[in-house]
Subunit: 406 residues, 2 copies
Amino acid sequence: MPSGKILVAQGGGPTAVINQSLVGVALEARRFRSVERVYGARHGVRGIINEDFDDLTQETSHNLELVANTPSSALGSTRDKPDAKYCHEIFEVLRAHEIEHFFYIGGNDSADTTRIVSLEAQRAGYPLRCIHIPKTIDNDLVGNDHTPGFPSAARFVAQAFAGANLDNASLPGVYVGVVMGRHAGFLTAASALGKKFPDDGPHLIYVPERTFAIEQFLHDVKQTYERFGRCVIAVSEGIHDASGAPMASLLAKDIERDEHGNLQLSGNGALADLLCEEIKSKLGIKRVRGDTFGYLQRSFIGCVSDVDQREAREVGEKAVQFAMWGRRDGSVAIRRTGFYSVDYELLALDDVAGKTRVMEDEFIAASGTDITDAFRLYLRPLLGSGMPDAFRLRPNPVPKVRNAAR
Amino acid sequence: MPSGKILVAQGGGPTAVINQSLVGVALEARRFRSVERVYGARHGVRGIINEDFDDLTQETSHNLELVANTPSSALGSTRDKPDAKYCHEIFEVLRAHEIEHFFYIGGNDSADTTRIVSLEAQRAGYPLRCIHIPKTIDNDLVGNDHTPGFPSAARFVAQAFAGANLDNASLPGVYVGVVMGRHAGFLTAASALGKKFPDDGPHLIYVPERTFAIEQFLHDVKQTYERFGRCVIAVSEGIHDASGAPMASLLAKDIERDEHGNLQLSGNGALADLLCEEIKSKLGIKRVRGDTFGYLQRSFIGCVSDVDQREAREVGEKAVQFAMWGRRDGSVAIRRTGFYSVDYELLALDDVAGKTRVMEDEFIAASGTDITDAFRLYLRPLLGSGMPDAFRLRPNPVPKVRNAAR
């Protein structure tokens, strides 16, 4: 009979729905007679070391529901990556509190943290059930149809490009929007879901799954600009040259890395500015504007997919069920079972942790600068209900009187 | 008896609700028996020169309503500033089409365009009724309580900072968000409406109404960071030093100006990047992130104030009424009559055109880095209904067992 206490924490970058998973764990756990307390660690695994726990059992269900609908990590987050020593400190604290269930909500790196903690617990003989709960706006967890957090971020990106396209049509020029995504282009590709009419932007989409060459880029932009009199471009922050070096890293003075070895690509506008400068100077186009979506795309309050909310809640609930009724550690994964429905399964931590999914070839058009209908069909149901829509005046041109010959 | 045709056009940067005003004109005009046709000029005054008119009378009311709810300028926009020669070309086209009513939806520069066209028409003896319809996200038109477009952009900025604050609380550091606003800090100040709890960001707000000094800025950031362990900062793109030189212009290689002489401040991330570099290098804070809200804040689809929508519709309707029942040219203005209600009046074009309103002193805190309750009370009703809200876990700390002494 395990102890009556369980622990939940959140790691990595926040999403719009990560608190749904937290609340899913908190509320589902209390339905098990064996669970007496649900503790939350503040700022991920670091909160365990610091013994910084909040007792979620003392929360009201009303406030938990309000928190579930609030973006970003309510418990705080961390990018700490534990080693064996760190893990032993973790176990000492868990032992002192008689905690034998650990739920970690996060992306690849948090899955890896869960794997390390699970492995070290076995080595140390500490009886700990470890379950990783998926979230990442990058959608780059292997074994998942998609990951909670991605649909809401994708919705933001699609809405942002729908608006940027309208803006660009009104005052024509070139617009470059830089979207998050280190290795996987899913979020950048979501920009295409903002298109409605055949001449709508984004006209060009650059993802990290294809090699980026500035000459080809300028050629593409020139051709598009000549055709439409304007050009809207979606670029992933992770685009890289043939050697694999990210374009963003060629620009940054000091390249910052986190503890998982990831380059810091977000949080500055250098990539958009570089691309705009190239377009201005090499193509001689005057009106060139660049936006870097930055943190807006993952934490904007008020742009969320209801499908994403429900699924993020469910992965939290299922994590508790897998832990309480199952016999092994693992990572909860989303499997698509219909158009549109999903089910959940528990994958081995080794099969998920530290691995990176990228966009499947069938999702990227042969041109390398567009996405396919397969991707549209894949993403559309995830965006949820009530997507705002753009409409145009229907053409009713007035016959010219004075300038009839022009 | 004037001709049966009226002309409407849109100028300057688009907003989320500028099409409400367009549709307000189109639908209201047809209620007048004297109006037979409502023409729209494509891309502002330039569309008149090009004789590029669309007959809005042939639109369905259903599609007009859908367009009204679509952000950005449905007719397209321009930054052209007409001179006497340009105006004479305008009158030739208008004469050929027997158009004697001109409605121009736009900000300061478009008000000035309307003033110039009105003046030149009088000089040329062309019988033209000219009405300027206000819109600008900058909220810098004199004589108006506020301008259509500002409330929706303000809502975007408030929501963006509400989310950025949550993100920053989750992974603490410094966050700099750069907001549009050349001379007026209204939109940057709107960031404060995203605050809920006393320790929420933005902790510091820099508007163009106060002189910006980098040393004082670094001092403010250091103090805030020491107090809260993090710091969220809202900065207007128009901040300038004591000489009046915009910080952004000190950075740009080629300074672009539009035809109205305005410096191009948006469309790159240079200002945010500069401020972040300063904080990193001078204060030694590691996690420093900058976002430039850019075009998202004025054209994001799906973030709109319903109050703004209704008022933008009304200024269009009132413009037609003033034109048909009045005897003079002018600029429609919003006057606040209660908490919360408004009425509309027609100001002389000379009293609005080319003038710039900035934030009243009573709206800016004595510190110069915060806003007052007077501003909160001013802005809150404009943001409309259904503002998303952020909630926190209530503190229920678990007593420490192992680290009790720490």
